[in-house]
């Protein structure tokens, strides 16, 4: 249950519905705030242009044709002798109005269609999605040009059609969000409790899609302004009406006489569009859009008393002359910033001698997988060894550079993952994924590597090696995939194999076979194995020694027999008590209840 709840709270929320106000989110973000100020200024000036502009947009002064800036014409005159500054101000309302038309139409059309398609599905979804795909497949500029005369030669009606062409952006967004929300538990609960569809849509769904819609609106607004300016630049629209695009057209026709004329209309378009985009980005960053939530490491440290009990580690280390195969001492692994890392492994120490199988046991989040990855030098991005040492065959590899580790991996140090299917590259055949590393490690020919791969596939119990060799990962079963991964892991004759929950994802019957295979291979090849697991059944089956971990610390290290017969740490005792495998049939209910409550710490 704790696992389930932590998983829920850790899940990245698409947006925080209703919790954080969007206005506050924008005000908190410096870039968003400046964008908002610029945008508000542009809109305000455009709206109050009649009171603000020094000249009428159509006022012509012959002596001011392409004039340099003066006190009368602060930004100079255009090709017809009109004031560029005044025209910029007057043009704002015309350009913004066109964009507003396009945005409103696409917003309403796309959102309504998205709500209907997402919520009711079936025919609606198929039809609307198909229409959206068609609209998205068309170059808007050309379609708008083609329809311009038909639409009465008006830029505004052209922008209305553009709104229809932009609606798939909203449609897809709303549809996908609605489908995601629809399947959430609370919407089910609302439906069961008898709320009408309309109520559910307005209360639950609209709240969730609100901020993605605002972000999309900002971007679509930017696109609309640019396309409209483009149409006007091409000479569409009423020449008497000042627009930013129309001003650029005028500047373009005089580009050889007054090249600087293109500057101001271009800058004002860019400033408007950029502030729209930055505003959208600010909302996304503050409220957590689809990509904003960075991938966090799976490890979740929990507070609690955890007393490291590494007693006996030294004593248990068999005094072989060459020293152990692997020696981990006081290992600390952390994620995040250098000053204040999130520590997930805190002082782990253990040894593995050649030919020995050491189990690392603990619940999820105990740091066992992070320990395994740090030995391989393959911690996920952001993770690193903070302190401590890892010695492999007498050599310190704790901070070994990537290329050094690469030479060790495969040949000396190898890895069997937990989830078989996700650990095979879907785009390459099984054979290719076996041959390529062998060629890289041994520098052998492709034919030789192929021959060895087929032998290996047969060895790991695959009935038709030739066929499996030619197959793609999606063509084989999970059990077979895990055998393939084991074959790959042992293909270069490693001295130490790190197996991370190698049977967890498999059927119970397949689990036993895979464990048998691992044991046989270990005996044949004399490998050491670090077996990460949460399953005491697997430990009892295979391991010589066991390291028990909790909260990133080792709480007990013992040989397997002692651990099962006389566990010394209360946590180990609790874990063992909670394991049902290999335990005697359950006593009557009353006793079980008493037993578990006693088992609790």
């Amino acid at each position: 249950m704790t696992e389930a709840t932590t998983a829920l709270t850790n899940a990245p929320l698409p947006v925080a519905p209703g919790r954080v106000s969007i206005t506050r989110a924008v005000l908190r973000n410096p870039l968003g705030l400046s964008a908002l100020i610029i945008l508000t200024l542009i809109i305000l000036i455009s709206v109050v242009a009649p009171f603000f502009a020094p000249h009428s947009p159509t006022e012509v002064k012959i002596d001011k044709i392409l004039a340099m800036p003066s006190s009368d014409y602060p930004l100079g005159g255009d090709g017809a002798g009109r004031d560029v500054f005044s025209r910029l101000i007057w043009a704002g309302q015309n350009t913004l109005l066109g964009a507003l038309i396009a945005v409103s139409i696409s917003l309403v059309l796309g959102s309504v269609a998205g709500l209907v398609a997402g919520y009711f599905g079936k025919v609606f979804d198929t039809t609307f999605s198909w229409a959206a795909n068609i609209l998205m497949a068309l170059p808007a500029m050309i379609v708008l040009l083609a329809l311009y005369q038909t639409l009465g030669g008006s830029v505004y009606s052209t922008m209305a059609v553009f709104g229809v062409m932009l609606s798939p952006g909203f449609f897809r967004l709303v549809r996908n969000q609605v489908i995601a929300v629809k399947n959430e538990l609370y919407v089910d609960a609302a439906r069961v409790s008898g709320l009408s569809d309309a109520r559910i849509i307005s209360r639950h769904i609209l709240r969730v899609v609100r901020s993605p819609i605002i972000i999309q609106t900002a971007i679509i607004g930017g696109i609309a302004i640019i396309i409209q300016s483009g149409l006007e630049f091409l000479g569409l629209g009423d020449p008497a009406t000042p627009t930013w695009g129309g001003m650029l057209q005028d500047a373009f026709s005089n580009i050889y006489i007054n090249p600087a004329g293109i500057l101001w209309p271009g800058l004002i378009i860019a400033a408007t569009v950029a502030s729209l985009v930055l505003l959208g980005n600010a909302i996304r960053d503050e409220l957590g859009g689809p990509r904003a939530s960075a991938a966090r490491p799976r490890a979740k440290p929990r507070h609690g008393h955890a007393h490291a009990r590494t007693q006996g580690t030294e004593a248990l280390n068999p005094g072989s002359g060459n020293g152990p195969l692997l020696r981990v001492r006081d290992l600390h692994v952390g994620y995040g910033s250098i000053e204040n890392p999130l520590t997930v492994v805190r002082g782990v120490s253990f040894d593995v001698t050649a030919g020995e199988i050491v189990g690392i046991v603990g619940e999820s989040g105990s740091g066992k997988t992070q320990t395994a990855f740090s030995i391989l030098g393959l911690l996920p991005r952001g993770g690193r060894v903070l302190s401590g040492s890892i010695k492999f065959r007498g050599r310190d590899i704790t901070f070994a550079p990537g290329n050094e580790m690469q030479k060790i991996r495969g040949r000396d140090l190898s890895y069997i993952p937990q989830e078989p299917m996700s650990n095979l590259d879907p785009s390459f055949t099984i054979g290719h994924q076996l041959v390529e590393p062998m060629q890289a490690v041994f520098k052998i020919s492709k034919a030789e590597a192929r021959k060895r791969s087929l032998v290996l596939l047969a060895r790991v119990g695959i009935a038709d090696p030739e066929r499996t060799f030619r197959s793609y990962p999606h063509e084989i079963s999970g059990g077979m995939a895990q055998r393939v991964l084991i074959a790959g892991a042992v293909s270069c004759g490693p001295k130490l194999l790190i197996a991370d929950e190698p049977t967890t994802a498999l059927d119970v019957t397949v689990q036993a076979e895979v464990l048998d295979l691992l044991r046989d291979l270990q005996r044949e090849m004399g490998m050491g194995i670090v077996l990460v697991t949460h399953n005491f059944g697997v430990v009892a089956d295979l391991c010589d020694r066991v390291v028990v971990m909790q909260n990133g610390r080792v709480v007990e290290t013992n040989d397997a027999e002692t651990l099962f017969s006389a566990p010394s740490d209360p946590y180990t005792q609790a874990l063992l008590a909670a394991t049902l495998d290999d335990s005697p049939p359950r006593p009557p209910l009353a006793v079980t209840a008493a037993g578990t409550s006693k088992g609790k710490l």
Binding site: F233, N403, Q406, P426, H474
Partner: protein, 313 residues
């Protein structure tokens, strides 16, 4: 695979039919105006009616459309109302010009955005932030304005490149290349950074896959895993990004052609649009929809070749 191809082809044909039908209905429904446009304001109502009859505009719309369609299937897209040139000739002259610009631009976009996107995915840090900034700038600057600035800078102030014109590749390869440098630069600048960001996202998604770690655990270098496994698996989303870029570049080319006075589809579209040359506009739409269908088909085929699972679906 054949089945997959056939279905894709069929949906492409349906798309062409739907779009041309809708466009036809829209632009021919206003045909009365068209006759007036051709003859000018001084023409009498009788002249206009006669001209409309002459153009076949007096018949019911569906009859006109069926006629147009059966001719179009045989490659006859009618005659321009203003130049009397067959529309198919017009297209045959203009399409190669625009295609050479757009394909050039797509290749540049693909190359630069892939390099930038992959590097940003692997390195992160300053390149990542730079891409974010540049993609906002690229989005905000209209490409025709960028074209104007380029003309002012590199054709007027420092005349390195021609300000206008087009040289067919058959005439002079270097002339063609020089003439296209400014238009293509103006076209691609807006989209490159955002395409790079999307490719970066696709690469990061693959880099976080379990099999990448497993392959590295087998002793493969991170470079060879990146170049072979990561790139291949990130290719389908990247190809989709590029196919959308292709459509955006087609639209962008229209305006850019105007700036550089390039006699391509864009110039044809603008002139036909301002004049109301309906048969020419229909031809433009047909050509573009076919182009879009071909591009999507190529992308689908490429995805099928890259991703073995897609071949089965």
């Amino acid at each position: 695979m054949l089945n997959f191809l056939a279905r894709r082809l069929l949906s492409g044909v349906v798309l062409i039919l739907v779009i041309t039908t809708i466009t036809y209905a829209l632009i021919y429904s206003n045909a009365g105006n068209a006759a007036r446009n051709i003859l000018g304001e001084s023409a009498t109502a009788a002249d206009v009616a006669a001209k409309a009859k002459d153009l076949g505009l007096d018949r019911p719309l569906h009859e006109q459309y069926l006629d147009w369609l059966s001719n179009a299937i045989h490659g006859d897209l009618g005659v321009s109302w203003f130049t009397n040139e067959p529309v198919s000739n017009l297209l045959a002259n203009r399409l190669p010009v625009t295609l050479s610009i757009v394909i050039f631009a797509v290749l540049v976009t693909a190359l630069v955005s892939t390099v930038l996107g992959v590097t940003a995915a692997v390195r992160r840090g300053w390149l990542d932030r730079l891409l974010q900034v540049v993609s906002v700038i690229g989005f905000s600057l209209p490409n025709f304005w960028v074209a104007l600035v380029l003309v002012v800078l590199f054709a007027v102030a420092v005349p390195i490149f021609p300000a206008t014109g087009y040289v067919p590749v058959t005439e002079s390869l270097s002339g063609w290349f020089l003439a296209l440098i400014l238009p293509v630069t103006a076209l691609v600048l807006g989209g490159i950074a955002s395409a790079a960001q999307q490719i970066r996202g696709a690469v990061i998604d693959v880099l976080e896959m379990d099999y990448v770690r497993t392959l590295r655990a087998r002793g493969l270098s991170s470079t060879s895993v990146l170049l072979k496994h990561v790139l291949r698996n990130a290719a389908p989303p990247a190809l989709t990004v590029l196919s959308l870029q292709f459509i955006a570049l087609l639209g962008g080319a229209v305006v850019i052609e105007r700036v550089f006075a390039i006699p391509g589809m864009g110039t044809l579209t603008i002139n036909s649009s301002l004049q109301g040359d309906v048969p020419a506009l229909m031809g433009v739409v047909v050509a573009l929809v076919i182009l879009v269908v071909i591009v999507n088909l190529v992308i689908d085929l490429a995805n099928g070749w890259i991703n073995p699972k897609a071949r089965l679906q």
